[in-house]
Symmetry: C2
Subunit: 376 residues, 2 copies
């Protein structure tokens, strides 16, 4: 059997989209799925075989009916090695969870010789120790490297070419001056509505409530408004920039992050109460917007990595009403701007949907393609 | 010696930038230059060795002083095979020329087992026969392929992630609905100045003359205003889209292309006379701009591939003054918009400098990195 063998951990929205792309796209026929796992069950291919996924999600029944309860990751590795000893193929693990436990296990997957492709931000935005462990094992800066590979395109901007572009800039010797972007789809939607270039008088609480009803926020919108998702993405990007090697955040919590949850609501854990009380704080947001509008500017919640100033920050900034972050952005788009030695004074910009199962899966599957191209 | 061996044909502005990146970036140390060639001379490494390029362009003297006059490509292949029989490395040819003759030779390079990385548009926008030849030998749609590889990122938008992004969309099963973009840096500059969102009264001829003085145009601006550069890029992109397999342009000259050279100037071959006579036609351009401005729109010279309508066209279009092609664009930026099944209604956008030696070289060197990752 020629190709690589793929193990899929996490089969929710993103995982299902990954499986759909793998099973319906004929040019991906060299990527063979040999294992599926969710929190309840594990489904393994027999040695020498691949899993038949089916065109209509037949894998869902097969996984539910599997006699194997979800294996521990240690046990999973052991069983995968048994399959590998027969198949003689390179194995790539796809982690579609947002689980800290799976992320913490990456060094052991790598030690086992397995590559990783994942949209899970945890391993790359958590402790510097875990990151260093992964970096040491696989994410080497060398162009060419023999061991397992770690790809993470979908951790920032889903399928948008962000990590790949940053890698290409760096590997060819460009120097990053500044990376700046709207990196959260939820924050993008909220501020595109709250502070459009032509101005608005709508209330912040009303927009957040609507975003929540449309399913654009976490169950508790406070989890979006904390800015921690943006801080995680900044951590991931900054760790790829060699010029920041000595100022890397210990983890996403050490990034300078402005929470938009009003001080009076910080301790409110109940999501419904949180949303109900949000109107009490509308005046604060109105004031910030009025100040921006008076300068013919808009408000955007952005992530900024200013390499020259050694500054990494997530927070609200104002941009002139004719800036691309004001005019070009809409919906829940992400936008990212790379100012580099080569791309200056005008930056390289990438924009588009930065969340959603299909575009996230696209980033993961593109990563798998690159692993297959390098490892078979 | 581990790595791949690189042959560089064409050492002008782009070629020099490629060499500079290869010789000054330490992570590229697995890419070994074994041959340089320009129209006069060839410089070959001794078998088992690589060329010492030097940190200060010492290769320029070495090439000029080479005892070998420029080899025919047939002869070059023969000599490279001799080197290869000793080095046992994969060879990649970088074609930095814009030469039809070098492009026509690609099938023979591929037959010889050599990969190709190039910003030269000729082979991919010329006759369908040559393209089919290359496609048959190397540009296979399969994810994984054993033979030589052909990479062409810099043929559209220089180092901007355009071909790679299109490849990723397609390989993961997305379907392209429409690609639309400002694909010529010269045209971008001219219309950003002539038709800004806030309107303008400046004359077309005056802006073209200024662009020429700044070195933004070809020696004869008529070569830019013909639109043929955009037609070439549209040919390249459309040939990558499987849904267009039956409607591919025979070559760039069969793309529906609007020339901006006024009818009365079509036969004017002398560049100075061309520019001197351009003001005679300012009224025509004023009229088009007035019509756009009356609709609160701007004029942009764009390339459009409308897959659903089976339409491939280069020409002037008007866009609302708040469209990204109006507001976000500046300088001589390229911008490209991919509307796909996944990225709709809002498209994926990539924007930035689309010409210049350093950014073009970056695309070429990134391609070489991918070849090295897959072939060593």
């Amino acid at each position: 059997m020629s190709g690589i063998d793929v193990v899929i951990i996490g089969v929710g929205l993103v995982g299902s989209a990954v499986i759909k792309q793998l099973s319906s796209v004929s040019s991906l026929s060299s990527l063979h799925v040999i294992a599926l796992q969710n929190s309840k069950k594990t489904l393994l291919a027999s040695p020498g075989k691949r899993l038949a996924l089916g065109a209509n999600d037949e894998w869902k029944q097969a996984l539910a009916a599997s006699p194997l309860n979800a294996l521990s990751l240690d046990e999973l590795v052991k069983r995968l090695h048994e399959i590998q000893s027969q198949n003689q193929s390179h194995i790539a693990v796809v982690d579609n969870t947002s689980d800290d436990g799976v992320a913490a296990f990456y060094p052991l997957f790598i030690q086992a010789g397995f590559s990783i492709a994942t949209p899970n931000k945890k391993a790359f935005s958590g402790s510097l120790e875990l990151y260093a462990h992964i970096l040491h094992s696989a994410l080497q800066p060398e162009v060419v490297q023999k061991g397992p590979l770690v790809y993470q395109e979908s951790t920032v901007g889903a399928g948008l070419p962000i990590i790949n572009t940053l890698d290409d800039l760096l590997v060819t010797g460009d120097r990053i001056k500044k990376i700046e972007g709207v990196l959260s789809g939820t924050m993008s939607y909220i501020f595109n509505e709250f502070s459009p270039p032509q101005g608005s008088t709508r209330k912040f609480s009303e927009i957040v409530t609507m975003a929540r009803e449309k399913g654009y926020t976490e169950p508790n919108p406070g989890d979006d408004l904390s800015g921690s998702d943006v801080a995680r993405k900044l951590t991931i990007l900054s760790r790829l920039i060699p010029d920041l090697a000595n100022e890397l955040p210990e983890g996403y919590t050490s990034v300078d992050t402005q929470s938009l949850t009003p001080a009076g609501l910080r301790d409110e854990k109940d999501a419904d109460t949180y949303v109900k009380r949000l109107p009490e704080f509308d005046a604060e947001f109105d004031e910030m917007r009025a100040k921006a509008q008076a300068n013919n500017s808009v408000l955007r919640y952005v992530g900024v990595i200013d390499v020259e100033k050694r500054l990494i920050r997530a927070g609200l900034e104002s941009y002139p009403a004719d800036h691309p972050f004001a005019t070009s952005l809409g919906g829940s788009d992400n936008i990212i701007s790379f100012s580099t030695e080569r791309y200056s004074p005008r930056p390289l910009l990438v924009q588009g949907a930065g969340a959603g199962a299909d575009v996230t899966a696209m980033g993961v599957v593109s990563d798998l393609v690159r692993i297959a191209q390098r490892r078979m």
